[in-house]
Each structure stands twice: as structure tokens, then as C-alpha cells.
Symmetry: C2
Subunit: 282 residues, 2 copies
């Protein structure tokens, strides 16, 4: 199988990897200068800079937007709040279209406050995505459900495996017009059904994005202690092999939340290390 | 469905819940005095006190031993180490028999040091359990594979769902002579396939133990911040309904690792709270 050596143009940086410490236009320039082919920005930083201006800068630098991060969580205690969440996501989908993003990344949300009802939360997610799909088709943006690690089930996502995300895609979008999956190694590396699920998702062309980082041992923070590729235990080459064998030919995007290590390092050093590791261990 | 009100004789305390702060014989007396019907002790504390003496005390108090905790991890870099791990587990299975334990709880271990090969580690687990089964049958002790939450895949267990544990049981022990599953709500509450897996496991009479605690939001420590039943987001009544509908009629065992809260509280207060919550929210 191909390695990523010499193929930084097929690699992207999620801006969270740099810790959101600089204005987005500075970050965009750094990422382009370092030779990456793509970027995945976040709503709060795009909003702060203005979506049109950011879209122009990204186009001028010929970067792909591998994903636009991320959805407002769908579940909420009241129908009014859930409708407002869908409206928020409709606005974001329009911004994703203006950015030319390959997908709108959907972290779907956990249990609503005060609830222990996982099934109900999953229904709210399903209903919320269903309510977003017409707009996504209208503006030509693909929605990518990102299953999160089960340790985030309570607070961030009640969709926790690739298989579960695939079932949701099949249910809501049987013709695969607008709903795909963002496969992130950090969230799914442990899954005993990963090979089977990725193969099935890929054979339906449902894999909309592929994210890499690493699982550190020990992990000292459940959210903000992801590792640089190669520093942890994830078999990155094997998972990329699964994803590409399944038919995915898109970019490999680095997404690392690391408050004590990489968010303290100089941004250009972080990008250099990402480039090195993408080309050696991914 | 029955609640657990008035049924403390069907409830057990895993001694880890009290933080291993006192000699085991003191803990055993406390648990019996508080009215619980069962106890699940750990090897290090049984070893410190002497297995025969502990077995006598437990019999005299008419406590059931709902589980003996826990296996030495199976995976290791060398065949010699793996064989030594099996030998250690053979000794523990004999102690479990002397204690009259309903099962020997198997936390199977994570990736061997330096490895990223999950499949190989899972093979090592399968081979290790296979090597233990003859002794388990000889001494009449049931082995209970405990799938751990996926956040422990790297360091503690490469078996992470009830479905995966069930597949292992079917493979190694198709006649269900000695291999079952310990279902712990903390590890499996998030699983979208939980109802299906528990139903299948129960219909084969594979559920050997049922453990309760709660998932706190936020969770501040990945290992030692479990909640008291009712203080978190797990739908405990629903999961007990699943387990009992599937045919499980054994004890409900409380297992809480909580270094900052419950391990600092007076042991009798912890037991009183366990009794209250078992009878109200479980």
C-alpha cells in the first residue's frame, strides 16, 4: 500500500491541532506554507474572521477544506431548543457551502441535561439530522456523522461506533445523497468490529473524512490529551489500510487536542512534526 | 419488574467499593452486618489474610461470594510471561474454588508493552483463557470475562463489549461448561448493541455476574471516579431489566472505584448509601 511520503498535498490539518491560539488567517497561512493540501477550520474562528474573507483566503491558497467543525449538539430537553439547534446547524451548513467544505462534521451531542435516556437522545439525533438534510442537499454540502469514543457518550455524542453511524446513514439517507461518516482513529481504534464496519461504510462510499492522532498511555485527560501520530498505541498504518481498501481516497486530516503538549509548542514546530509523522507512521 | 427494595440479600458489595482501607476480615464483618447477601473480594487482600481463614469467615456469615477479583492480565511480550500469567490464574482459580466463588472475574489485559497489535493481543487473551479452562472445570469454578469500557482497551482489557465477550465464550466454550460474562454497567451502558448482546448472552445463560455503579458527568479520572448509583447518567433500572429479562437471576454487586469521594467516606456510611441506592434507583 502507498505510504503518505511525499504526499502532504493529500494531508490536512484540523486547526484545533494548533490550539486556536492565533487568528484563523495566520493559521491558514502557516498550514499552506508548510505544504499541506487541506485544512479543517472551526465555526467560532471562521465566524470571528468572517466566512467570505476566510473562503477567499483558502481558495487563493488552493487549500481543500476537508471538513467544517462542527455541528451544534442536537439533543436538548425541549422541542424549541432542538429546533434552535437545527437552525444553528442550517446556518453552519450554508457557511460550509461558502467555504467549499467537503463535509460538515457532525458531533451529534450527548444526553440532554437531566436525562438518562440514551434511546431518546439517539432519536433526537436522528430527528435533528433528518431536519438538516434538505438544506444540505440544496447547498450541496455533505453531512459527516462523526462517531465519538464511548467515553463521550454522556456529554458529547450518543453515536459511538462506525457501525452505529452507518446504520443511521442507511436509515436517514438510503440513497447516499448527503450523509456520510467521519472516521477518526482516536474514537474507533479499539472497536472489535472496526474492520467490518469500515469495509461496509467504504463499500457504500460513506466515508467522508479520515482523521488521525494517537492514543497515549496513560491518557491523563479524557478530552485534551490526544497524542501525535506515532506517540501512542494506535496502529495507524493498519487503519489507513482498512479505510483505503474500503475505497476512501480522500485526505488524511490531523486532529489533535493536546493542552499540555502540542498546544504549548510553537505552531510551526507542531506542523513540522505533523508532516514528519504523516509521512512516516501513518 | 421487581425492584431491589427489601432484597439486600440479593445484593453484594465488591470490596473495592470501600477502598481496601481495612483488613479484609473487618470489611467482611461490615458487609454482613449491613445486611448484604454477598461479597466480592480481591486477591491481594485474600492473600494477605489467608484464603482458608477468609473462606471460613465468609461461610460462617453465610455470605455468597459473587466473584473473585481478578485475573492476571493474559497478554505479554513473551511466551514465558504468558505462561506465567496462566499459572498465576490457575492458582487464583483454585483460591476461588476454596472461597466458593460464583465466578472468577477475568479482566483480560490490554496491549502488551510496546505493541500496537490489537488482534494479536486478543489472540493472546483467547489462548490464555483456553489454557485456564481445564483447571476451571476441574475445580468447578466458572470463569467470567468482564468486558471493560473501550477507554481501557490500551492498558486493561482488549475485550470491550458484551457482544465481543459473548463471541469469545462461544468460540472457546461452545457447550457453556465454564465460561461466562460479567456485565458491569459502567463498562457497557453506552453500547448501542447492549440490549441485543445482553439478550443473547442471557438466553445462553452466560451472564455470570452483574455489577453496578454510575457514570458521573464530568468524569475527572478515567479509573477512579466512578459514581454511586443514582449520581450519574446510567439508566440502572433499564439495564437491570435487560439483564433479568435475559434470564439472569443472580446478585447485583456494587463496584465503585472512587478515590476522591467514597474512598474517603467512613465505610459504614458507604455501605448504608449503597443499601439505600440499591433499593431505590437500581
Amino acid at each position: 500500500m502507498d505510504t503518505l511520503r511525499g504526499k502532504l498535498d493529500r494531508c490536512a490539518i484540523n486547526t484545533a491541532t494548533l490550539g486556536h491560539r492565533e487568528p484563523l488567517h495566520v493559521t491558514i497561512d502557516r498550514i499552506a506554507r508548510a505544504g499541506f493540501g487541506g485544512i479543517a477550520p472551526w465555526r467560532h474562528e471562521v465566524g470571528a474572521a468572517g466566512v467570505s474573507q476566510i473562503a477567499r483566503q483558502i481558495r487563493a491558497l488552493e487549500l481543500k477544506v476537508t471538513g467544517y467543525c462542527r455541528s451544534t449538539y442536537f439533543p436538548a430537553p425541549s422541542a424549541e431548543e432542538r429546533a434552535a439547534n437545527v437552525q444553528s446547524n442550517i446556518r453552519a451548513v450554508n457557511d460550509a457551502a461558502e467555504l467549499g467544505a467537503e463535509c460538515f462534521v457532525m458531533v451529534v451531542g450527548g444526553l440532554p441535561a437531566g436525562s438518562r435516556n440514551l434511546s431518546a437522545a439517539r432519536e433526537m439525533v436522528s430527528d435533528g439530522i433528518a431536519a438538516l438534510m434538505a438544506e444540505a442537499r440544496n447547498v450541496g454540502v455533505r453531512l459527516a456523522v462523526e462517531p465519538l469514543h464511548p467515553m463521550y457518550a454522556a456529554e458529547r455524542s450518543v453515536i459511538n461506533t462506525v457501525g452505529q453511524a452507518l446504520a443511521l446513514c442507511r436509515q436517514l439517507d438510503p440513497k447516499n445523497e448527503s450523509l456520510g461518516i467521519a472516521v477518526d482513529v482516536y474514537h474507533c481504534w479499539w472497536d472489535p468490529e472496526l474492520a467490518e464496519s469500515v469495509s461496509a461504510a467504504g463499500s457504500e462510499a460513506r466515508i467522508a473524512a479520515y482523521h488521525v492522532s494517537d492514543w497515549l498511555t496513560p491518557t491523563t485527560d479524557m478530552l485534551l490529551d490526544r497524542g501525535m501520530m506515532g506517540d501512542g498505541v494506535i496502529d495507524l498504518k493498519e487503519i489507513r489500510r482498512l479505510v483505503e481498501t474500503a475505497g476512501y481516497s480522500g485526505m488524511t486530516e490531523v486532529e489533535i487536542f493536546s493542552k499540555d503538549v502540542w498546544w504549548k509548542a510553537p505552531p510551526d514546530e507542531v506542523l513540522k512534526c505533523c508532516a514528519d509523522r504523516l509521512q512516516s507512521v501513518c
